[in-house]
Amino acid sequence: MGTMTGDFGRAARRRVPALVLCLAAGCSGGGGNGSGGLAHGLSPAALLGEKIFSDTALSVSGRQSCASCHVAQFAFVADPTAAGPDRGAPVPLGGPGMDLPGFRNTPSLTYLSYAPDFYFDADGNPNGGFFRDGRAASLAEQAALPFVTAFEMANTDAAAVVGRLRGRPYLQDFVSLYGAAVLDDPDTALRRIGAALAAFESESAVFRPFSSKFDGWRNGQAQLSAQELRGLALFNDPAKGNCAACHPSNSADGVTPPLFTDFSYDNLGVPRNAAIPANDDARAPAYTPTDSADGVHAYYDLGICGPFRADGGLNTAGICGQFKVPSLRNVALTAPYFHNGRFATLQEAIGFYVRRDTNPEQWYPVAADGSVTKFDDLPAAYGGQFVVKAGVVGSDAGYLGNVNTGEIPYDRHIGDQPALTPAEIDDVVAFLCTLTDGYDPANPSALRLPAQCQAAGAVSGPFAN
């Protein structure tokens, strides 16, 4: 059992064999349902994880659980329509009083279990891992950390979490699975909580339904409209959107349906989002880390090289500012977009991709003299704060920083044509809307797509308001 925590990142890829083994062995470890076996297709650990997932009593506030920010109806991101002070905000509130803002936009949990554990590939590039900076090597490790994060569930340490666990109705399930002794070892007990959550996220079909219109089309059960097919082609075309370069639309292993991520990391130079309190130097929360002395900002979110990753060994300058490439499945439901939630719609997000370099004035701060500070959320040392002149051809030449300026569609310069026209952007949005789970080929109109799909002209079905 001691190796369970570390192994759970790989559990997803071993799901079927693990279940077969569990069935064969009868899973005699015992479960809360008393049967000692699988119930609803879930292992006892996953059943326990399901209970923990939505239990707010494990937070200091008593009002926050995993499900608070990861709402099933919205592909396990925050409900943008939910009442509260953080409604529509790029980062959720948490902490003992539910008034502490976080630092990053909530990532979707769907299909997350397919991510490999964090590793560097042969070329030294980061891959896989969990959180937007990959700092949790495995899903289990990731799942345990919000319990002890000050601006989330806010327990001071693992012992505090275990103290709350002792009073929960599913304690017996926990003890049956992991033994009573583990309660006296809070760090291990917290890892077991993470393992149970990872089991739930890995085993439950709600996290990986593969039930989108796109899936139905791949299976020969649905037809894409002409616009959606055009959008897919633009998405794939390496001379147009080239989205598939990082968000592959084809199966990686020939078996698992396309996941629309290659689990790599990239630095897009996403503009700084002033709506995140930590980004406001004057009013940043006290717990905001400071990682810059460049005189521009005291805090930058540098993704894989800080400030939330503790492993200083990763602070190789070339990758600073990179964030994990997310899956695009259900992306129509997961607004706002990017790690800092800078863009509210897919149309804006894709527009940023294709016009970031041709029209930087549309995305970055513009000074009175017409100069534009590109990549304003990155220190100059890493290629940020790159000043160009709006509309002046050649003023953006010679860029050598960390931001990816070599790949299509963001390989352009001022004066070039964007890789996609506005109409083509709509086509891509229409295609992305087909990645929304819940499509029933027998009753296509039952799926209610978000309003931004309607705005793009998508015709998959009726639209939600």
Partner: protein, 482 residues
């Protein structure tokens, strides 16, 4: 012999004298009477008969003499042949003794074991893009064969491509052939293992000394893959009339190996093109490396070698391929390739031609699932070339043979399932700012092979590409074969 030879001349003189005397007597009317005349006639008649008899005897003697001379010549030749054989035997004995003496004390190489090898080094200089000039030890190949008995042999070839084969290098170490061949009769044999496919002029004879040009031609690289081998078994043989035949059941193509959407062009130079595995069968043939053998393919090949200096042949290969598993539920896909080839070597000339054409069925669903991809799966591909070479100089084993070749290839002559408004090749620029290369071209190649001896060749050529003009290049190469 001299006395015999002079005898007819003497008889002729005697006869002439008698005839002259008779004629003179007969001419005197005073002394002539009928009896005398009759006597003289009888004498002449007798002498004529004697002369005929002597002529016949002389003919017989001449015939006997010629037969005797022929017999003597034959005997002399036999003696000479025996002497040569004796010398050869002596040399063999000497060689055997030398071999035995050269062998280490333990083990030893069997006379049934054979070793051979070939290899080639290229220098290729794209004239319009000199930055992409490359030099490469393209391949080093070593062969091992073993003769188990008079009817059964084993042959194998092991190849290192691009000099270094490791996880972080582009080179490969591969088994190119590995088969057993068993002679069933003088006209038939059976073969099993990994063997070369009998297609075109080059595939089975791919040593650098066997073809013109620094690199192998495009038709027999991009349409017929090179070096194309499959695992399976085959029956083959040659008839007395000069007809070669070969048919077999082999592994086939795995279309799951196809990459529908590489982000960047798979090749930027002609050398890249040959090495990239971008061509339809290059990308999908399996080389018996954990090959998907769900479906087997069949081939048949016929050739004619009955007229000295002429070779003509044709072959066809077909079989269901292993289909991609993504998207699911793709229909069965059949891959077919056929070709016809001819080579004529009258005197110092060497003329050859190859036409090859292939197809992949039911590719529409796959291409549609990968709409907009940069590398859709073609439904048709073809190519041909015409080549002429002439040995202009030959001296002390050196041989200089310039050549010219015209070829056309189209790796994507037809596609199904391309999204409306999109083409099989991306219409925009690639990330390097250059247009995407086209999968078809027309190529002139001018060059020469210079043989130091039949086993070592130095080559140079210039290739002019009409469509992908940046591929135009100058090549220099060294090849050997032993």
């Amino acid at each position: 012999m001299n006395s015999l030879a002079s005898k007819p001349a003497a008889l002729s003189l005697l006869a002439a004298a008698l005839l002259s005397a008779g004629a003179a007597a007969a001419a005197d009317p005073v002394h002539t009477d009928a009896a005398t005349a009759q006597k003289l006639e009888q004498q002449i008649e007798q002498m004529a008969q004697q002369l005929e008899a002597m002529k016949a005897e002389l003919q017989q003697l001449k015939a006997q003499n010629e037969a005797l001379a022929a017999q003597q010549r034959q005997q002399a030749a036999q003696v000479q042949q025996q002497a040569v054989q004796a010398q050869q035997q002596a040399a063999q004995v000497e060689q055997a003794v030398a071999q035995v003496q050269a062998q280490p004390q333990r083990g030893g190489i069997s006379p049934d074991l054979s070793l051979w090898g070939y290899g080639e080094i290229y220098y290729t200089h794209p004239v319009h893009v000199p930055a992409l000039t490359q030099a490469d030890l393209a391949r080093a190949v070593f062969g091992i064969g073993y003769r188990f008995d008079d009817r059964t042999v084993f042959n194998s070839e092991f190849e290192v491509e691009h000099a270094v084969s490791s996880a972080s290098d582009k080179g490969e170490f591969e088994v190119e052939q590995f088969y057993v061949d068993h002679q069933l009769a003088s006209w038939a044999a059976v073969r099993g293992g990994l063997f070369l496919m009998p297609f075109g002029l080059l595939n089975e004879h791919h040593e650098p000394t066997s073809y013109f040009g620094v690199q192998r031609n495009f038709v027999e690289t991009l349409v017929i893959p090179s070096t194309w081998r499959e695992g399976g078994f085959a029956f083959h043989g040659d008839t007395e009339a000069g007809i070669g035949w070969d048919f077999g059941l082999t592994t086939g193509v795995n279309l799951a190996n196809w990459d529908p959407n590489p982000e960047n062009p798979l090749y930027r130079t002609a050398l890249d093109l040959e090495n990239s595995g971008a061509a339809p069968l290059q990308a999908t043939h399996q080389e018996l490396s954990l090959a998907n053998a769900q479906h087997l393919s069949q081939y048949v090949s016929l050739s004619y070698k009955g007229i000295p200096g002429l070779l003509a042949g044709a072959a066809v290969f077909t079989g269901n391929a292993a289909t991609p598993t993504s998207p699911p539920h793709l229909p069965d896909q059949r891959v077919t390739l056929w070709e016809a080839h001819a080579r004529w070597t009258p005197g110092a000339a060497d003329l050859s031609a190859v036409y090859a054409r292939g197809g992949i069925t039911n590719s529409a669903a796959y291409n549609l699932a990968n709409a907009g991809g940069s590398n859709p799966m073609p439904s048709k591909f073809w190519g041909y070339y015409l080549q002429g070479a002439y040995t202009v100089w030959r001296h002390h084993g050196y041989r200089l043979a310039p050549f010219v070749r015209w070829e056309r290839y189209d790796m994507g002559a037809g596609y199904a399932g391309i999204a409306p408004g999109f083409g099989p090749v991306p219409m925009g620029l690639a990330a390097d700012g250059q247009p995407w290369p086209q999968p078809h071209d027309r190529v002139w190649t001018y060059g020469t092979n210079f043989y130091l001896n039949p086993h070592v060749v130095v080559k140079a050529d210039y290739q002019s590409f009409q469509t992908n003009s940046d591929f135009t290049r100058f090549d220099f190469g060294l090849g050997l074969n032993f």
